[in-house]
Point group: C2
Chain length 343, copies 2
DNA sequence: GTAGGTCTTTACAACGTTATACAGGCGCTT
DNA sequence: AAGCGCCTGTATAACGTTGTAAAGACCTAC
């Protein structure tokens, strides 16, 4: 049988509340009493019942993290960062995945999937502003990934447009003149649109073509989707000399197709990805990629949630920008030049 | 303010328990009464408080999944499978990662990290039998991954020795005569040892060398560790004509080093991995790999936990074997031959 | 020596839910 | 028509914890 405060109190010959005081490090307990109670706690092996504590205090010590999918290593690495950041504050993470489907994202944001949480970190794909407008739930919500709309929720994101522009600028500076974009999402998707926008802005600024024939839309965002998109572009007859992909898995899928078609990377076609996942560091051609500071994103997200929990509910929702940088590797520079950029 | 049973009861003009009966689909409630109460529930937007329910019933609806690391896509994919399987039973998954460190694994197994759970699925790396011997915790524990020792806990695993033998047999049948093993773990690690055993058994049975010079131990099990191990073997002067790696990331890291050394895969050296992660399907050379049925493993693990929760505590701990198969791709067959095996 | 204050401990209620035991009401049997 | 049992709904007591308020112990100062 599980031992409760009552059992400890009986064993130590004190009241329940005194035991509770010891457990919670209440200030006004004499050292003698503290030790006596502690001994009983140790002897009986008492461990607080979190359900009861939660019921009483209204806090669970759990925050939920809802990601589109774990199969994408970017999200897996991000999840790891969140779990560690939460652990630093003695919080535990409940993980959910939405598949990137609007319906699932709405369900999660309304708290229908997990109802024992103090806060929620959500990385939406298809979710619309209106879906959050009438959110009745009162647990703090922090959104991951840039959103264009104005809502009373904290955002943690990198500047997608600027990051995409940096990636494309890198290609342009290398002398590339026809840069394709892979992974404009078929359905709505805020981040994808922003990266397309950055791609278009930078090309236009450089006086280079940014027509629709260079953009390949996809349904998903995995390796296979990138491969399909690349194949479609090549089959259309276009021969871009560079490709900017929505994320690394798609870039790697695209490179695979380039190999199959006998096109060399980077000599014939340079490739840039997004997310800087480990996988990109070890292919036959290592991948140049935009590298968001995942550790910072995870930490900032957790801190934002906990800050909201802290009580000062009036504070304005803030949009926090996390760092990113472009890591140059063989897929744009060739092996020799990228040697010291490898990581 | 949050609405409780009491509020609904007042609104509907009935007792709290009647509302509870409706919520829990208790059999003996007249349709009229059910509808009347349901209307109040809908109007007020009542949602049960899980903490209270947990306190009363002793169940949380949460199971914990503790994995070594999420960065390894195998575990990420496995986590996705567990989350889905749990969702099918209206359970939610709390995710933790241990880094594969014995200390963390012990902490998790003792329930010190998460104390609001009904059951625990743990994928241990360094954990020893003795660590579980005096486990006081009474939440059901299911172990993922084969363990050699006998303990009163369910195991879900594939047959590592047999799977490793199948991988090596494939190489031998292709005419390879010197097969290296990458990823024998420096510290203790049950699965690694079993795969080394399978490697050794199969080679010995074929009358081929299985000496220590062909085995490279590592501390971790990521891409970089595989690359380091491969480099060490090559620098030692050995020129195996095949490599069997502990897992896919290590195999991919090893292939990267082979490219750097100008060795062709599979012509000069064939490579086989383990886990069949998506990443291996899309490299310049796609990777032959042992493919465990992750979906089945996740499902069986969840079902085992829930079965223990079901009450029949006396039932013997069972060791469940999940399926696996060897998926042949370019890293052992070359591009043409593997074309239809690609997936 | 006692009043007044501070420090320590206690009793009790409450958090929201479900289990138990019981009270009516109804229909069926005899 | 009375008795019996079943069906439906109700009051009440838990589950284990913490906050509140108050009681008790102890000390200082006059």
């Amino acid at each position: 049988m599980r031992v409760s405060l009552k059992d400890v109190a009986a064993h130590a010959g004190v009241s329940i509340k005194t035991v509770s005081n010891v457990v919670n490090n209440y200030q006004h307990v004499t050292p003698a009493m503290r030790e006596r109670v502690q001994r009983s706690i140790d002897v009986l092996g008492y461990r607080p019942n979190l359900a009861a504590r939660h019921l009483r205090k209204g806090r669970t010590g759990i925050i939920a993290l809802a990601l589109p999918e774990l199969g994408n290593p970017y999200f897996a690495e991000l999840a790891a960062a969140v779990i560690d950041a939460a652990a630093a504050h003695e919080y535990i993470v409940l993980l959910d995945h939405t598949g990137g489907y609007r319906e699932q994202e709405v369900l999660v944001s309304q708290g229908f999937r997990a109802r024992v949480i103090d806060g929620l970190i959500l990385s939406p794909i298809e979710l619309e502003a209106e879906d959050l407008r009438d959110r009745a739930e009162n647990v703090p919500l922090v959104l991951l990934g840039e959103r264009d709309y104005d809502l009373p929720y904290d955002h943690i994101a990198i500047d997608n447009v600027a990051a995409a522009r940096a990636a494309v600028r890198h290609l342009v500076e290398l002398g590339r003149r026809e840069v394709a974009f892979i992974g404009a999402r078929r359905g709505r998707s805020e981040p994808a649109q922003l990266r397309v926008r950055g791609w278009r802005e930078e090309l236009t600024a450089a006086g280079l073509p940014a027509d629709d024939g260079l953009v390949a839309a996809t349904d998903g965002w995995g390796h296979a989707d990138g491969a399909d998109a690349m194949r479609r572009i090549l089959e259309s007859g276009r021969r871009p000399d560079a490709v900017f992909a929505y994320n690394d898995p798609m870039a790697i899928g695209a490179m695979r197709v380039l190999f199959e078609w006998g096109l060399r990377v980077p000599e014939d076609i340079a490739v840039v990805g997004f997310d800087d996942v480990v996988e990109g560091h070890f292919g036959a051609v290592t991948l140049t990629s935009v590298s968001p500071d995942k550790e910072a994103i995870g930490r900032l997200a957790v801190e934002s949630v906990l800050e909201r929990l802290g009580g000062n509910e009036v504070s304005e929702p803030h949009r926090v920008w996390a760092d990113y940088r472009l890591v140059e590797r063989e897929s744009t520079l060739g092996r020799a030049a990228a040697a010291d950029g490898r990581g």
